[in-house]
C-alpha cells in the first residue's frame, strides 16, 4: 500500500494530536499545599507529570528556584545526596519523593510544605526522577539554559534502583 502526500499529512496530524498533545498537556488548576499524599493513581501521575514535558520543564525550573540545586547540585549531590544514581535512602518511588520534598527528612532535608503547591511538588518529583533516567525519554528535558555541567536529563541512562526497604526498617 502506498500513501500519497495528503494522506501522510493527515496521518502526521493525527499522530501529533494523540502523542504530542499528551506530552504537552498543561493542567493549570492547583490545590493548596499539604503534607498528606494526595490521591493520584499511577496512571494519572504518569500522564500528568512523568510523561509530560511541560511538567518536567517546570520541575527543572523549580529545582533551581527553590534551591534544591544548592544541596543536590544538578543531580550529582553536594550537601545533600546525589539524585542521579541508584541509591535512594528514602525510596525512589514517586510517593516517597513527594513525601521527602514536602515533609523533609531527619538528616537535613528541609520540609517544603507551605512553600510550594501540590502541583509544583509533583512537577519536582517527576523532574527528580528524570535525573536518574526514570522518566519518559520523550518528555525529559533535553537541554539546559545554563553552563553545560552534565548530559541532559533525556540522555541520562536509567539507573537500576535498589529494592526499597520496608518502611518500618528504613535506616537513617
Amino acid at each position: 500500500m502506498r500513501f500519497r502526500f495528503p494522506e501522510m499529512l493527515a496521518l502526521a496530524v493525527v499522530c501529533t494530536g494523540t502523542c504530542g498533545c499528551t506530552r504537552e498537556r498543561r493542567d493549570l488548576s492547583d490545590v493548596p499545599p499539604s503534607a498528606s499524599i494526595p490521591r493520584l493513581t499511577p496512571s494519572q501521575y504518569d500522564r500528568q507529570y512523568q510523561s509530560n514535558a511541560y511538567a518536567m520543564s517546570q520541575g527543572k525550573h523549580l529545582f533551581e528556584w527553590f534551591n534544591c540545586v544548592g544541596c543536590h547540585a544538578h543531580g550529582g549531590g553536594s550537601i545533600g545526596p546525589a539524585l542521579m544514581d541508584a541509591d535512594w535512602i528514602y525510596g525512589d518511588d514517586p510517593q516517597s519523593i513527594y513525601q521527602t520534598i514536602l515533609g523533609g527528612r531527619p538528616n537535613g532535608m528541609p520540609a517544603f510544605n507551605g512553600r510550594i503547591s501540590q502541583t509544583q511538588a509533583w512537577q519536582l518529583v517527576a523532574y527528580v526522577r528524570s535525573l536518574s533516567g526514570q522518566a519518559s525519554k520523550s518528555a525529559s528535558p533535553s537541554r539546559s539554559d545554563s553552563l553545560q555541567l552534565k548530559e541532559a536529563e533525556q540522555s541520562q541512562p536509567r539507573q537500576q534502583m535498589q529494592p526499597a526497604a520496608p518502611a518500618s526498617s528504613q535506616h537513617q
Binding site: H74, L147, E151
Partner: protein
C-alpha cells in the same frame, strides 16, 4: 628554662622572630590546634629531626568511629590526647600514660541530625581547645560545650546558632584569658556572621560582634581607626549593601583567631558575602572578606582591612593570621602574615592595619595587583562574572589559592609553609532566592586543575624576599594543615592518604606513611609521658574538596559539591572513607 632562653637568643639573632613562639603551654604539649596564639604551628621539640625522621614508626592508632572529613587537630594536655570528630562531634580523651593509649572517656553532645543539612562543605569540625582543665569545642548544630578534661563531664553548654536560619559551627574555639571566642558558619546559607565571647566558667555570652549591620552591633566605637579611608564612616556595614541584604550577607567567622597579648588584640578573618552572585549585592559589602583587629576584652574593633571588597568569587577572608615580627625596609614591624583565598599573601602592620606588601603565592588572574596606597585590589574585568555569561578560566577557583588549611611558620628557616590547591574554574552566576535554612549561592561552577596540571602544593614562602623558597606539588589539593618543628621538619598529609615529612630547608621528602584514608587533618607533635616525641594526625577524607568520597557525590555532574565534581572524579579510585588517629615516634 635555660634551653628556652637559649632558643630565644637564637631567634633574636635571626632577626625575625615569631611574636609568640612561647606558647601558653609547655613545649611538650599542644593545647590548641594552632599550637600558640601567634598561630605558628611550630614546635620546639627536636628529638625527631631531619636526620632520623626516616626511622619514624607507627606507635598507636585510634578509630574515631565516624566516616566523614576529619579536619581536627589532635591536641595534648595533661598526658591526655583530645580529639573531636566530625558530626556527631564526639569528643574523645585518650590516656597517653598507658600502653595502647586507651580511651579515658568519651563525650557525646548529640547535635541535631538536621544540622547536616546546613553544613556547606561536609560535616567537619576543626578541633577543640584545652585551657585550665576544661576542653571547649563547637557542635555542628551551633552549640559551644565545655567539658571537664579529667572526668569528661559537661560543665556547661550554650546554643548560639540556629540551624533553621542556616547557621552551623565548625571552627575551633580560642580561649583568651577568661573568654572563649567562637564564631558561626553558614556563608552559603545567607546567615549573618558573628564572633562571640563566652565566659569560660559559665558559658554566658559576654559580647557578640557581627560582621554586617549597624556599628553598634559590629562593635565599632571610638577606638575604631581603620587605616584606609574607604573603611571610615558610619554604619558602613549597612550602607555598603542594597536594602536589607546585610541581614543575610554572610561574613561568617569559621576560621582562625590569633591573639597578641602585648597589644591585647585578637585578629580574625570574616567569610564571603552572600550570595556568591555578586550582582545581587552592589557595594563593598562590609565587613565581609576582611580582617578585624579587636580588643580582646571588650570586642571593640581597632582596625579592619578588606581583602576582597564586593567579593566576586567566594574568597572568604578567614584564613590564618600568623603573627610575626619582621624587619621590613630596615625597621622592625609587628606583622600579621595572611595567605588569603584570593591568592595573595598579605603582610599587614598589625598595630594599625596597614598593608605592607601583598604578593601572589599562586597563579592569580582575577586580581592584577593590590594598590598599597588605597589597599584595594584591582579586579580583572574579563574575569568578572556577569549574568547570562559563562566566564572561563577563573584562577584561583572558589576555594581560593588556599582555603581553611592552616600554614605553619618556622623561626629557624624563617619560612611560611603553605598547604594549598592549584585549581581554576568556569563560572556562571544565576539568580539566588533566599529561603531560610536552604543554600543562598546563585552560581554554577566547574573546577579543574590550574597550570601545570597538579591540583595541590606545599609552598615554602619567604616573607622577607616575598617569593617561594621551594614548592612541592601533589596530585590532589593539599587540604591538610602543616606542622613545622625545631627538628627542621615540615609535616603534612595528602588526600590520597600519604603523611609526609619534608626537610624544612629544602623541601626534600624524608619520610612518608600511607594511611587508610585521605588526610585533611591538622598534624600536631608533643612529648609523651614517656619522654618521647610523638607526631599525630587524623586521617579521614572529606571536607569541601573531598566530598566526592565522603558525600558519595556523582561526578557525572561537574557541579557536584559546588563545582568539585569536575575536579575530583578520580579521588574515589585513590582513597576511601575513614576516621583514624595515627601517632608516630622513633623506635
Amino acid at each position: 628554662m635555660a634551653n628556652r632562653n637559649f632558643l630565644r637568643a637564637i631567634c633574636a639573632a635571626l632577626v625575625i622572630v615569631s611574636a609568640q613562639v612561647e606558647a601558653q603551654s609547655s613545649p611538650g604539649e599542644w593545647t590548641i590546634p594552632a599550637r600558640d596564639y601567634a598561630n605558628t604551628r611550630y614546635s620546639e621539640l627536636t628529638e625527631v629531626d631531619n636526620n632520623n625522621v626516616g626511622r619514624l614508626k607507627l606507635s598507636f592508632t585510634f578509630s574515631s568511629g565516624v566516616l566523614r572529613g576529619h579536619e581536627a587537630a589532635p591536641i595534648v594536655a595533661d598526658s591526655t590526647m583530645f580529639v573531636v570528630t566530625p558530626y556527631p562531634n564526639v569528643l574523645y580523651a585518650l590516656d597517653l600514660t598507658r600502653p595502647g593509649v586507651p580511651m579515658k572517656w568519651r563525650f557525646q553532645p548529640k547535635p541535631l541530625p538536621a544540622s547536616q543539612g546546613v553544613a556547606c562543605c561536609d560535616v567537619v569540625n576543626r578541633g577543640a581547645a584545652y585551657s585550665g582543665g576544661k576542653v571547649f569545642f563547637n557542635t555542628l548544630d551551633g552549640q559551644t560545650v565545655a567539658v571537664d578534661a579529667h572526668s569528661g563531664r559537661e560543665i556547661w553548654r550554650v546554643r548560639l546558632g540556629n540551624i533553621n536560619k542556616g547557621e552551623s559551627m565548625t571552627m575551633a574555639p580560642l580561649v583568651v584569658k577568661d573568654k572563649v571566642l567562637v564564631g558561626n558558619s553558614g556563608g552559603e546559607f545567607g546567615v549573618r556572621g558573628w564572633l562571640t565571647a563566652l565566659d569560660s566558667n559559665t558559658g554566658r555570652v559576654l559580647w557578640r560582634a557581627y560582621s554586617t549591620g549597624p556599628d553598634a552591633e559590629v562593635l565599632l566605637g571610638p577606638d575604631f581607626h581603620p587605616f584606609y579611608s574607604q573603611d571610615r564612616g558610619t554604619d558602613l556595614g549597612m550602607k555598603s549593601w542594597p536594602g536589607d541584604a546585610w541581614q543575610r550577607g554572610g561574613g561568617t567567622v569559621w576560621g582562625w583567631i590569633s591573639y597578641d597579648p602585648e597589644l591585647n588584640l585578637i585578629f580574625y578573618g570574616t567569610g564571603n558575602p552572600g550570595p556568591w552572585n555578586a550582582e545581587q549585592r552592589p557595594g563593598d559589602n562590609r565587613w565581609t572578606a576582611g580582617i578585624f583587629a579587636r580588643d580582646a576584652d571588650t570586642g571593640q574593633a581597632r582596625w579592619f582591612y578588606q581583602m576582597s571588597p564586593h567579593d566576586l568569587f567566594d574568597y572568604d577572608g578567614v584564613n590564618e593570621c600568623i603573627l610575626l615580627d619582621l624587619d621590613i625596609k630596615g625597621s622592625r614591624r609587628k606583622v600579621l602574615a595572611h595567605p588569603d583565598r584570593n591568592g595573595f599573601l598579605y603582610l599587614i602592620d598589625r598595630t594599625r592595619g596597614e598593608v605592607l606588601s601583598a604578593k601572589p603565592f599562586v597563579n592569580v588572574n582575577t586580581i592584577s595587583s593590590i594598590d598599597l596606597q588605597t589597599g584595594r585590589p584591582q579586579y580583572v574585568e574579563a574575569k568578572r562574572p556577569v549574568p547570562g555569561q559563562t566566564v572561563h578560566g577563573i584562577c584561583p577557583h572558589a576555594a581560593g589559592g588556599k582555603d581553611w588549611q592552616p600554614s605553619a611558620y618556622s623561626p629557624l628557616t624563617r619560612l611560611i609553609y603553605i598547604p594549598h590547591q592549584n585549581l581554576c574554574q568556569d563560572e556562571e552566576v544565576r539568580p539566588a532566592n533566599y529561603i531560610a535554612g536552604t543554600p543562598y549561592v546563585g552560581a554554577n561552577v566547574k573546577m579543574f586543575a590550574g597550570a601545570g596540571g597538579y591540583r595541590g602544593a606545599v609552598t615554602a614562602w619567604d616573607p622577607s624576599s616575598e617569593r617561594a623558597a621551594w614548592e612541592v606539588h601533589e596530585k590532589f589539593p593539599v587540604w591538610s594543615g602543616a606542622l613545622t618543628t625545631a627538628g627542621n621538619l615540615v609535616f603534612y598529609g595528602t588526600m590520597d592518604g600519604w603523611f609526609k615529612a619534608l626537610d624544612a630547608q629544602t623541601g626534600r621528602l624524608l619520610w612518608s606513611f600511607k594511611a587508610g584514608s585521605g588526610i585533611i587533618g591538622q598534624p600536631t607533635t608533643y612529648r609523651g609521658p614517656d619522654g618521647k616525641q610523638y607526631v599525630a594526625v587524623l586521617a579521614g577524607v572529606g571536607g569541601w574538596a573531598g566530598g566526592v568520597v565522603s558525600g558519595k557525590l556523582d561526578t557525572h555532574d561537574s557541579s557536584a559539591g559546588n563545582g568539585w565534581g569536575s575536579a575530583m572524579g578520580d579521588l574515589p579510585a585513590h582513597t576511601n572513607l575513614g576516621g583514624m588517629i595515627y601517632a608516630f615516634s622513633l623506635p
